[in-house]
């Protein structure tokens, strides 16, 4: 393997890791920390992308301003999510799963029916290519990587250093004890949902610019986010970071050696073997059930 290919693969790995982490963060906040299974994460991600498109392309606003506005608007879904999709089915995973699927189906079908041309994309958030020797990265990927890294650090700081973060962890780890401590679980859950929606909106907008939009663009999100959360370990955001690098590394390097669909098969095979050897994931805690 040549140096160019190797360096290219390293860069792809870092970018893929940041991309996967970006889409997994909102999901991880809800599932990993608070044990709320948010299947509709992909749909919120998609809506975020389309909303940013409507603001920036259709209405012509500045794209960064659109991004901020999109986050603000999508965050408003948070309390709705908590009240109507999580609270009625607290800790009932079957129903939470199915409700998420039902809502996703309805929203995706509606979006698909409203589109006459599927090819839509946000303009790149940053243009130009950065060249350093054999390395050549588009500024778009750099910006996505940086924002992903920043958001990861922000969420880790939130979880481990702020009062609300600790409350979220408490609710996820031991519900009864949190109630006894006087934590308002509904308000904390709503806050977590708000943040998760905002994270999904950012991911949808950034990746909607990088990969283009589509009514079904959120379909892959649930699977990838779940892989990262399970591999990283329930209860650990730092685990998402390591898991992101691992999965990103597999996805960046395997195609160089193996062709075609076998790469997906092998990638998930590796993940299964890791989970069998270490079911808790890299840094996970024991699940409460």
């Amino acid at each position: 393997m040549t140096l160019t290919l190797f360096v290219g693969a390293i860069i792809n790995m870092l970018f893929l890791a940041s991309m996967y982490i970006l889409i997994a963060l909102g999901f991880a906040l809800l599932f990993s920390i608070m044990e709320l299974l948010h299947v509709a994460h992909g749909v919120i991600y998609m809506l975020g992308g389309y909303l940013c498109y409507s603001l920036s392309v259709t209405l012509g606003m500045n794209q960064w301003l659109s991004l901020v506005l999109t986050v603000g608007i999508i965050c408003c879904f948070g309390p709705v999510l908590e009240r109507f999709f999580f609270r009625p089915f607290f800790r009932d995973f079957d129903r939470t799963l199915l409700v998420g699927i039902g809502i996703s189906t309805i929203i995706e079908t509606t979006m698909a029916l409203s589109k006459s041309n599927e090819a839509q994309s946000l303009r790149a958030f940053a243009t130009g290519i950065l060249k350093m020797g054999p390395i050549s990265v588009s500024n778009e990927r750099l910006v996505t990587f940086l924002i992903g890294a920043l958001l990861l650090l922000a969420v880790m700081w939130l979880i481990h250093r702020t009062k609300v973060g600790l409350q979220m962890q408490a609710v996820g780890q031991d519900l009864e004890a949190s109630l006894l401590q006087g934590i308002n679980i509904y308000r904390i859950s709503a806050l977590a949902c708000v943040i998760a929606c905002g994270l999904a909106a950012v991911a949808g907008s950034l990746l909607g610019a990088y990969m283009g939009l589509g009514p079904f663009m959120g379909d892959f999100v649930f699977q990838k986010a779940l892989v990262l959360v399970v591999l990283g370990g329930i209860g650990s955001i730092g685990g998402i970071f390591v898991a992101g690098l691992v999965v990103g590394g597999i996805d960046a390097f395997l195609p160089l050696f193996i062709s075609g669909s076998a790469t997906s098969a092998l990638a998930i095979g590796i993940i299964i073997v890791v989970l069998l050897l270490r079911p808790k994931g890299f840094f996970g805690r024991e699940m409460g059930f």
Binding site: G102, A265, I268, M287
Partner: protein, 333 residues
């Protein structure tokens, strides 16, 4: 005293007779349908419904042992592809490859069952989910042998192209399989499964070999899923991995929850409704997904015990009202 005892015994016999009579009646009606209708399409839809019911009930069988097999549809796929590929490439008769395909699915279920059964519930669910994805990806990477992403075509039919022979075969197979699964659940094995599901510690403290029973449940579930898949392959003549992915497993969960997971008949009712309703609504074309999603949301939000629990739920509503009324009457006097 002896009168009370004998009348109690008679009552028990009578209560057992009721559901038995109902099932017999349904079976008679189903058996008569090909004679009453001239639409092969109705038979086709019912054929698919029978096979799906088989798979959905086998899904529930694993669930009652406390495991959450989110990769269950993959075993349908293993049965289907094993049987289809053997028949297509080796030229064996489908009557041989279908049992073989079923056994392959069961064998794989047992092989992965042991390492997987050591995991706690939610971890098992995740690994099962990923295993399901892995099976789909492996089949997609199968190149010429499995047809890859484009699917396996040219599968020899089991009994020609007319729908009626398949109808009776699937009706009988499904009926027998459901009876077997019901027997499993109500006899000692089933009770052990439920015990293992309830408490890991207590079951083993009574001397139950948890791992063995969990793998046992998985094997039984995979057997019937594989059978369903293998029959499907030789009925549909073409199969693709999109029928056996995570979405398909979610459909089994959907059928079970909508029907009522607590009851054996739950997945049967749920499957029948959620397969037949979109078919009947085909005229809505692009809007059909709203029907299934709508039914799902209504049941999940409104009926905690699913459709089978609906009569009980309604009775409960009236009982409560009666109780309140009685209380008010008491206070009034």
């Amino acid at each position: 005293m002896s009168d009370a005892v004998s009348s109690a015994r008679d009552e028990k016999k009578g209560s057992r007779l009721g559901p038995f009579a109902a099932v017999a009646l349904i079976v008679l009606v189903l058996a008569a349908i090909p004679l009453l209708t001239d639409s092969p399409y109705l038979l086709h839809v019912l054929n698919l419904t029978f096979l799906t019911i088989l798979a959905a009930v086998s899904f529930r069988t694993i669930i009652i042992s406390g495991q959450f097999p989110l990769g269950h549809a993959a075993f349908m796929g293993i049965g289907a592809y094993a049987s289809g590929m053997m028949a297509k490439w080796l030229g064996w008769s489908p009557w041989i490859t279908i049992p073989l395909g079923t056994l392959v699915a069961t064998a794989i279920g047992i092989v992965i069952g042991y390492p997987f059964s050591r995991l706690r519930a939610v971890y098992y669910a995740m690994v099962s989910l990923f295993f399901g994805i892995a099976v789909v990806q492996i089949i997609n990477a199968g190149g010429v042998l499995s047809g890859g992403y484009s699917g396996l075509t040219g599968i020899p039919p089991l009994m020609g192209f007319s729908k009626t022979p398949y109808y009776y075969l699937f009706l009988i197979v499904t009926l027998v399989s459901l009876l077997v699964l019901y027997r499993f659940e109500t006899c000692r094995v089933g009770t052990t499964w439920k015990a293992v599901a309830q408490s890991y510690l207590i079951a083993s403290s009574v001397g139950v070999n948890e791992a063995f029973y969990r793998v046992y449940a998985l094997a039984v579930g995979c057997f019937f899923a594989g059978l369903s898949g293998a029959l499907y392959a030789h009925y549909n003549f073409t199969i693709g991995t999109s029928s056996f992915d995570f979405v398909a497993t979610m459909m089994f969960l959907m059928y079970g929850v909508v029907g009522g997971m607590f009851s054996f008949a739950g997945p049967i009712v749920g499957t029948a409704l959620l397969v037949l309703a979109p078919e009947a609504a085909r005229g809505l074309k692009q809007y059909v997904p709203y029907i299934s999603a709508g039914i799902l949301l209504i049941v999940v939000y409104g009926m905690p015990r699913g459709l089978i629990g609906l009569p009980g739920m309604i009775k409960g509503l009236f009982a409560r009202r009666a109780k309140d009324g009685a209380g008010r009457a008491y206070h009034a006097s």
